[in-house]
């Protein structure tokens, strides 16, 4: 990857930080609301 390695690595790092962060945040938010619904006995039947 020679002299351009820093740009290539930074680009892929940006992808993993932004899209990985969004994925983790989305899954955590979903699990949190599912738990909150379950605590109130409002969970949906599958």
């Amino acid at each position: 990857m020679n002299k351009y390695a820093v740009f290539i690595i930074s680009a892929y790092l940006a992808v993993f930080v932004i899209l990985g962060g969004l994925t983790i945040a989305s899954l955590r938010a979903r699990n949190k609301t599912r738990r909150a619904l379950a605590e109130r006995g409002l969970e949906r039947r599958r």
Binding site: Y4, F7, Y12, V15, S26, A29, L42, R44, R46
Partner: protein
């Protein structure tokens, strides 16, 4: 489409497809990254920096497709007043904004070694920045009102007005003299790039498309559950 506009049916459908969709996303992402980083040859002009294109181009496509989705959902909300359209738009806007941010960042990182600068105010880059502002405006508007319905309607109007920016992004490289290169894949006469580069690009596009769909489904489910909680707490 109207069949899945029923919230309960959509919820069941979403839960059923999520495990398979997650697996397909991981698999295609693995294959795409292997092809993009290890298998594809350096470009004869761009050299190794062509590897940035494998993430830059698909995220640009999806940022634009995501905004077209927002506009379609906005129309569905304003015409049919369907609540699921509003919830899905709330879910999709941050996903589209993230893809737009990745597109801008990776493009900038490619521009430095290739153009000698991180940024130029040419028509393609400027219209892409405008797209990311439209996404941010949509997110802000939908959450700006105490009455969620008013916020959703205001955001839907913005989505419909902003959709005019999509053909401007697409054809900016043809209408104006830009530093950004013209289309080389989505062309009526077919792609102009070699299969050794086209195949990894398409694998990454499939992987990002699946991730986009998965994120929208997960976030829509969350928005629906959140709305259900709010109604239960208000009762």
């Amino acid at each position: 489409m109207h069949r899945f506009a029923n919230p309960a049916r959509f919820h069941r459908f979403s839960r059923r497809v999520q495990p398979g969709l997650s697996l397909a996303t991981l698999l295609s992402l693995g294959i795409g990254l292997w092809l993009a980083l290890l298998q594809s040859p350096p470009d004869y002009q761009q050299g190794e920096t062509v590897r940035i294109m494998y993430v830059h181009v698909p995220t640009a496509w999806l940022a634009m497709a995501g905004y077209a989705l927002l506009a379609a959902l906005g129309a569905a909300l304003l015409v049919w007043r369907h609540p699921l359209a509003a919830l899905m738009a709330r879910a999709a806007a941050p996903v589209g904004a993230s893809f737009a941010a990745v597109c801008l960042l990776t493009g900038s990182l490619w521009g430095r070694p290739m153009w000698g600068t991180y940024w130029v105010w040419d028509a393609r880059l400027t219209s892409m920045v405008l797209l990311s502002f439209l996404y941010l405006g949509h997110i802000a508007l939908s959450r700006a009102y105490d009455n969620a319905e008013r916020g959703d309607r205001a955001a839907a109007i913005l989505a419909l007005i902003g959709v005019i920016n999509l053909p401007i992004i697409k054809f900016s490289v043809d209408w104006w003299n830009t530093l950004h290169q013209p289309a080389s894949v989505a062309r009526l006469s077919g792609p102009t790039i070699h299969p050794a580069i086209l195949v990894p690009l398409l694998w990454m596009a499939v992987a990002f498309l699946l991730l986009f769909i998965l994120l929208v489904l997960v976030r829509t489910e969350t928005e629906m559950d959140r709305r259900r909680l709010e109604i239960a707490e208000a009762a």
